[in-house]
């Protein structure tokens, strides 16, 4: 068996090694379980590691290689813990779903299970995916393996950190306002939000139904395409899912000749950190070097996207989270005196502060007398945001921006001010409002922390985005390898090769 570095190994390579018989799925899986054993105590990316399942299932894949052959067979994966998995608890990082045992499996997870991937576990997130730092988890705070004093971003911070820390080969996350792309950027991984409807939401615990989308977090653009291939498609259980007009292709582009890339002035006007701006400008220069043409464009309603998002998402969430009422599953408060008491205490005790905040704001926005001023208006802003993109895509093929205005920030530094936390998603939220596909790829470091570069395309332009991202990725040559330092403590770094050291 060749020496495998979980911090660098891609699914593309792992798959070839499996197919060539150089490693077994059990050996590959053990690489990740060992890395989990080595660093999980610091990173805390997983809510639950399914050790037994991973060991048993990978062995089964090895044993039944003939029957269980498939493009993803034997490759280990981590799943964000807001996708239901039959037989494995699903918590959404919420006390209200403590010990909840799903009776069915999310379609996207079912699809990769049917392809015989090996599930390593369920990753941490902001409670019900509400947050941008994974600090809103009721169970634990995940740390960024690039600096354990900083956050991994969120809400898919567990998935992003697991991939970055070599605790997973790749992972599934979900993105409502940037929840895949922003943590991918902060952790130095690739993350993609597909076009709304491209991946079934069935079994994804709903946060904001009209914005939520499942997508991959991976170590390369190629891996991203490979995983995306296996989770897209129309699902009869999701009336808002659609078949892609063309299948997802594995990218091979090295050039961007003739590609017109728009740079929205409004995205660069929002207090982008200088280091982030520098990496972004360098990446834009690379686009040009590869034959692309970059032009400044305008998305004039950008500043209204955040307010609209912070009405639409909480409004939908207030209804989506109403089902957590202590009647059929999940947490129920102790000794309720009557039904009302049961409802109010179950939900008051079961939800964390950010979730309550959003339920209150969403309920307020929908309540009598306020609908037109808030929800109705937000839906109209949504139309204007969509039109901005439609107009822009008449002139350009893709739009580029920093994924996040900042690199990973110190844990606890923004929790006191919800609005400053919301600002993390200023470059990603408009994309969800318009239902568009977008990817974040690492484009270098700023102060030793990764910077993400976002490419946005028109609806169903996944292949165009993946090709461009693949070409850029090659040109940037960023090789992610976090150091596991902790800038907030004197403790020595775990070292960039913590994973390899943990191996036999």
């Amino acid at each position: 068996m060749p020496a495998l570095d979980p911090l660098r190994l891609t699914a593309r390579v792992a798959k070839r090694l499996l197919v060539d018989g150089e490693i077994s799925s059990a050996e590959l899986t053990k690489v990740y379980l060992d890395q989990i054993a080595a660093v999980e105590g610091h990173v805390r990316a997983y809510i639950r590691v399914t050790y037994d399942n991973a060991a048993k299932y990978s062995t089964k894949v090895d044993r039944e290689m003939q029957a269980m052959r498939g493009p993803l067979a034997g490759l280990p994966i981590a799943i964000k813990d807001n996708m239901v998995t039959e037989g494995v608890t699903t918590t959404c990082a919420s006390r209200i779903l403590h010990d909840y045992m799903p009776v069915y499996t999310a379609t996207a997870v079912r699809q990769v299970w049917d392809d015989h991937v090996v599930m390593l576990g369920k990753t941490n997130l902001d409670e019900f995916a509400m947050g941008s730092s994974t600090e809103n988890s009721s169970y634990q705070t995940t740390r960024n393996p690039w600096d354990l004093a900083t956050v991994p971003g969120g809400s898919s911070g567990g998935s992003a950190a697991a991939v970055a820390a070599g605790e997973a080969l790749w992972a599934l996350g979900s993105d409502t306002g940037g929840s895949i792309r922003q943590p991918a950027a902060l952790c130095g991984t690739v993350g993609m939000k597909p076009t709304y409807g491209a991946v079934s939401r069935y079994g994804l615990v709903a946060f904001a139904s009209s914005l939520d989308q499942i997508g991959p977090l991976t170590r390369s653009v190629y891996d991203c395409a490979l995983l995306l291939q296996h989770i897209v498609g129309y699902d009869p259980n999701d009336a808002t899912s659609v078949a892609l007009p063309e299948p997802v292709a594995l990218p091979d582009a090295e050039r961007l000749d003739g590609l017109r890339v728009g740079i929205p002035a409004e995205y660069l006007a929002v207090g982008i950190e200088p280091g982030v701006r520098a990496r972004f400008d360098e990446t834009i220069a690379r686009v040009e070097e590869l034959g692309g043409n970059c032009v400044e464009i305008s998305l004039p309603h950008t500043e209204y996207a955040l307010p609209a998002y912070y009405i639409i998402a909480p409004a939908e969430a207030s209804a989506n989270l109403a089902r957590f009422d202590g009647v059929r599953y999940g947490y129920r408060c102790a000794d309720p005196v009557d039904l009302l008491d049961m409802y109010e205490r179950t939900r008051g005790e079961g939800f964390g502060p950010e979730v309550k905040r959003r339920i209150v704001i969403g309920t307020y926005a929908l309540s009598a007398g306020y609908y037109d001023a808030y929800y109705g208006r937000a839906q109209k802003v949504r139309t204007l945001v969509r039109r901005d993109f439609e107009r822009a895509f008449a002139d350009v093929d893709l739009i580029a921006s920093p994924t996040s205005p900042s690199v990973a920030f110190k844990a606890g530094s923004r929790t006191a001010d919800p609005l400053s936390m919301y600002m993390c998603d200023i470059c990603t939220i408009p994309v969800n409002l318009a239902g568009l596909p977008a990817i974040s790829i690492p484009c270098g470091l700023s102060d030793g922390l990764p910077v993400g570069f976002q490419l946005i395309g028109p609806a169903f332009s996944e292949n165009r985005i993946l090709q461009a991202a693949h070409a850029l990725e090659g040109a940037i040559g960023f090789a992610p390898a976090p150091t596991f330092c902790d800038s907030g403590a004197d403790a020595a770094c775990l070292g960039a090769h913590a994973g390899t050291e943990a191996q036999e």
Binding site: Y304, Y310, V327, R347, P418
Partner: protein, 93 residues
């Protein structure tokens, strides 16, 4: 502008027990957030249709064909309280 009474009213609608500190804190936070959201009112949106859905898809239905239901054991598996094969809830009166 949102006040503590609004927070209490909305928390009641949403069946959320908030203690007095939470009500006060939330009223202050929400006031700030809503002030930010108030930015939307700068826009003249005469004639702008609302977007409920980005998808250009209609008429997604399914045939009226039964599929197996959950076993009762699975249906009740996660129930906090069960009586006579039903989900049990505290008195409603």
């Amino acid at each position: 502008m949102i006040g503590e009474d609004d927070v209490r009213y909305v928390a009641k609608l949403a069946r959320l027990r908030l203690d007095p500190d939470e009500v006060a804190r939330m009223a202050a936070e929400l006031a700030k957030i809503l002030a930010h959201i108030g930015k939307m009112s700068e826009l003249d949106m005469t004639g702008v249709p609302p977007t409920a859905h980005v998808l250009d898809v209609v008429n997604v239905t399914r045939p009226d064909k039964p599929r197996p239901s959950l076993s009762r054991a699975d249906a009740l598996r996660n129930a906090p309280a069960v009586s006579d094969d039903c989900f049990r809830v505290p008195r409603m009166g």
